[in-house]
């Protein structure tokens, strides 16, 4: 590969954008295949949003319930996703997750143990058996540290605090690298690569109340779309049922589902365990219908059916929303999550140390004595880059995607615990997919310097405008608008208004002014994030408008039921003309499930 880049330039076989669980796992795989691997991350290594994952990673190892196996995990994932999933991803995930979890122990991970010394597994919503490998309530930290330390021990180049602006192509249209800038000094840097793996995580920062960190600006979703890939299921956004609601400054901060897995229950202002009133027909046969039955289940899953607090997240979030709307909410607009009256202080502190600490420090609430006030918070996007299940390849040659940025695996709603396992299963597959693609020989050759120059010009434009808008004002308005118009419950008029308003936001972003210099300037950084946030918001609003039904994380007030025809389609978006260009949305058929797998779903119904 040859380039005449006027900027600092690096060349790799595989370039990975993002250093969370998926990116790091992909790097390990590509390194093990003998390739030259570079990782670019806009934060420091080890700080990615993966560290925020608390409860665990789902893998049917059968360490606690020997009845568990990949077929049950597959079934749970498909039911949780309301059948919108790419079945092949769900199948591979269920089959491969146990090996992916076990191999982490070779690299230093130390999970909590069963009495006979195996990896302990915990209960979570939507999983029939206790299935989540975990370390207290800091499993994400364990995952990222393990992968980080493995990557470091292999001698991988990591470009930290380096923000990628755009992918670039070679003359035949293959993805051939990217252009980025160093946050520390604002200087541009180019990378050429035979294959690029997008592993950038989620999109939460377009909404006001989210559990996502500042990094969740959808850069990878947007850059892949701009480069010619397709985005699917973007309307399927997960509102986690339990985020903190008070104090306002931490509203949206995650409270792990592990609280409910370990016995915590939801109560309204009347003290009632209201979830029994919200069991959908689909889950009635396997859900307890009395408190006594539900309580027996925690110790022995054969002694009763599951508590309704452990329904999939979409079901629980909608129920909380309905209770608050009916006037039975808590003082700060949530409901109560009570583990204090259910488990001893000692158990709570041992099983949920981070939650104990988080509420004590930030809210002044002792969760071993009082209930927590919680409410739904934007947590995850099921939608993402459309990929091939086996290779994680996208519609553009040379571009791969894994983790939250990829779509399909989780359908319309993700089960808790399936995200960390998704990262390691498809991170490895993306690394292997990229390696196989390179071995095929038909790879990128040089890149289009014109694309680099236009990205650089666009990035610098805010410094040249006088009297333009402050990027922080635009970001705040965008968050307010998306929260109000494309939030947990949606309706035609609001979503249509969002689509119109997003065009106005596009104009505003084209008129941003940035103060100060290029060195570590957060205002400039935000200005370069906003095009991605708008692209993501537009595809989410368009999908939300077209999906005239309620399914998983997408709830329409004006179409509360499911529509059998819409169960067969993913809405697929493409764009022409750069970030402010024209988006086209078409129906793309959901992959047909082969008969032998379909029978797994039906047997259990």
């Amino acid at each position: 590969m040859t380039t005449n880049s006027p900027y600092e330039h690096h060349e790799y076989d595989v370039l990975i954008i993002g250093a969370g669980g998926a990116g790091l796992r992909a790097a390990i795989e590509a390194k093990q295949r003998g390739l030259k691997v570079g990782i670019v991350t806009k934060s420091l290594l080890g700080k990615a949003h993966t560290v925020m994952a608390e409860g665990g990673m789902a893998a049917a190892m059968g360490n606690v319930y020997s009845e568990d196996n990949w077929m049950v995990h597959f079934r749970d994932t498909m039911r949780g996703g309301k059948y919108l999933n790419n079945y092949r991803m769900a199948e591979l995930h269920a089959k491969e997750a146990p090996d992916r979890v076990r191999e982490l122990e070779q690299w230093g991970a130390l999970f909590d143990r069963t009495k006979d010394g195996k990896i302990l597994q915990r209960d979570f919503g939507g999983h029939r058996y206790a299935r989540l490998a975990h370390v207290g309530d800091r499993t994400g930290l364990e995952l990222i540290r393990t992968l980080q330390q493995k990557v470091v021990s292999m001698g991988t180049d990591v470009f930290m605090e380096c923000k990628v602006l755009q992918l670039v192509h070679d003359s035949s249209g293959r993805v051939a690298g990217c252009v980025a800038y160093w946050r520390a000094n604002g200087e541009f840097v180019t990378f050429s690569a035979k294959a690029v793996i997008m592993a950038t995580g989620g999109v939460g920062k377009s909404w006001k109340f989210t559990s996502n960190s500042w990094e969740g600006t959808g850069d990878g979703h947007a850059m892949a779309l701009w480069a010619g890939a397709k985005l699917i299921d973007m309307e399927c956004v997960q509102f986690h049922p339990t985020g903190m609601v008070w104090p306002l400054s931490v509203r949206g901060l995650l409270v792990t589902e592990g609280v409910r897995g370990d016995g915590g229950v939801l109560r309204n202002s009347e003290g009632k365990r209201f979830m029994f009133d919200y069991v959908a027909d689909m889950f009635r046969a396997e859900t307890a219908d009395s408190e006594a039955e539900a309580d027996r289940w925690y110790d022995d899953h054969t002694a009763g059916r599951r508590p309704p607090e452990l329904l999939p997240r979409d079901e629980v979030a909608r129920a909380i929303n309905a209770e608050v709307k009916a006037g039975r909410g808590s003082p700060h607009g949530g409901v109560f999550l009570d583990i204090a009256t259910r488990r001893s202080a000692e158990v709570i502190r041992r099983r949920l140390p981070s939650m104990y600490h988080q509420f004590m420090e930030l809210a002044g609430v002792d969760i071993t004595r009082e209930a927590m006030e919680i409410g739904p918070t934007l947590h995850y996007i099921m939608g993402g880059v459309q990929v091939d299940a086996e290779t994680a390849g996208t519609a553009v040659p040379g571009l791969f995607a894994a983790g939250e940025v990829a779509g399909g695996m989780h359908g319309a709603n993700r089960l808790g615990g399936n995200s960390l396992s998704d990262l390691i299963v498809f991170g490895k597959r993306a690394g292997a997919g990229a390696a196989d693609y390179i071995a095929g020989g038909d790879v990128a050759n040089g890149f289009d310097q014109g694309e680099v120059e236009s990205a650089v010009r666009e990035a610098l434009a805010p410094f040249t405008r006088e009297n333009g808008e402050n990027p922080y004002d635009i970001h705040r308005d965008l968050q307010e608008m998306m929260q109000a118009n494309v939030g947990i419950i949606r309706t035609a008029s609001e979503v249509e208004e969002a689509i119109t308003k997003l065009e106005e936001f596009t104009e505003r972003v084209q008129n941003i002014s940035v103060k100060g210099g290029r060195a570590y300037n957060p205002g400039w950084n935000l200005a370069t994030d906003l095009p991605s946030m708008l692209t993501v918001s537009k595809t989410t609003a368009r999908g939300a408008n077209l999906r005239k039904e309620s399914r998983g994380g997408h709830t329409r007030e004006d179409f509360p039921g499911t529509d059998a025809n819409l169960a067969k389609v993913n809405f697929s978006h493409s764009i022409t003309g750069g970030w402010a260009g024209e988006i086209t949305t078409v129906e793309s058929p959901v992959l047909e499930i082969p008969a032998e797998l379909k029978s797994l779903l039906e047997e259990a119904k």
């Binding site: 122990e105 500042w214 420090e361 402050n470 060195a519």
Partner: protein, 259 residues
């Protein structure tokens, strides 16, 4: 709601000065909320590092009134009345404003000999909770580097960074040494390459650890004991060598590829 003056150090490697920002503090706010409000209004180019805003990633460590703290976990209403002073961590070179160059820590991390476990048996390793708990404590570390910041061996003596790794890497080494699966021996390494002997156990690191890891008592002191055993007591050293045949010297260990 009260008004408070934030005295924020602004500048870069070439120098800088305090700037005062007067802000209205709202109920329940943490220091990071106030910084974000200053960025969104008066000073959009005010540099600070942060990610999770939940005390889990360790990005937002600065010195609040002279003491290292995570900005996201420091409630404004717990600080004494009067101006709040924010300065970058002193031990590391300044990039800009509150952001420092912490690459020293990443360079150190590369030197630590990796875990070297035996091959994994069919069905995975068997380890018991009581055996994993020791290392689990150290794996709670969120790499905020406040222990490094407060350690006077490098805080006050820049040249010591050549031969001293700091508390973060003592707990990392202790974690590996106490890991139930590990067969590497890092005792010479931690003495010779990481300068464990420079630590005179003043426990400053333990005091600032946001994860409440007992760095000094549970990692540094046991490591010092092991190093002393290995280095100065030939009988104990020989005994260990015979009993634990699988442990390697640090020179051998350093070149061993991890599986």
């Amino acid at each position: 709601m009260t008004d408070v003056t934030m005295k924020v150090w602004r500048g870069d490697a070439s120098g800088g000065a305090f700037e005062n920002y007067s802000v209205t503090q709202q109920e329940g706010e943490v220091v990071l909320d106030v910084i974000h409000r200053i960025q969104a209004t008066e000073a959009p180019d005010l540099a600070c590092r942060w990610n999770c805003k939940a005390g889990k990633c360790g990005s937002c460590a600065v010195e609040v009134n002279g003491k290292p703290r995570l900005m996201c976990m420091t409630r404004m209403d717990t600080l004494p009345e009067g101006p709040v002073t924010l300065t970058p961590m002193k031990t590391f070179p300044i990039i800009r404003d509150l952001v420092t160059d912490v690459s020293f820590n990443y360079a150190m991390a590369e030197k630590v000999p990796a875990l070297l476990p035996p091959p994994m048996p069919e069905g995975g390793y068997v380890m018991f909770q009581e055996d994993v708990e020791r290392s689990q404590e150290f794996r709670k570390c969120i790499e905020c580097f406040m222990c490094q910041d407060v350690c006077h061996v490098i805080r006050d003596h820049e040249d010591n960074k050549q031969h001293y790794a700091g508390p973060r890497f003592f707990i990392r080494t202790a974690e590996l040494e106490m890991h139930p699966l590990d067969t590497n021996d890092r005792r010479e390494f931690v003495r010779e390459e990481m300068g464990l002997g420079y630590c005179n156990i003043t426990k400053c690191c333990t005091e600032v650890c946001p994860e409440h890891i007992k760095i000094t008592d549970n990692a540094i002191i046991p490591l010092k004991e092991r190093v002393v055993d290995a280095h100065y007591d030939p009988v104990a050293w020989l005994g260990r060598k015979i009993r634990r045949k699988t442990k390697m010297s640090s020179t051998e260990a350093a070149v061993q590829p991890a599986p």
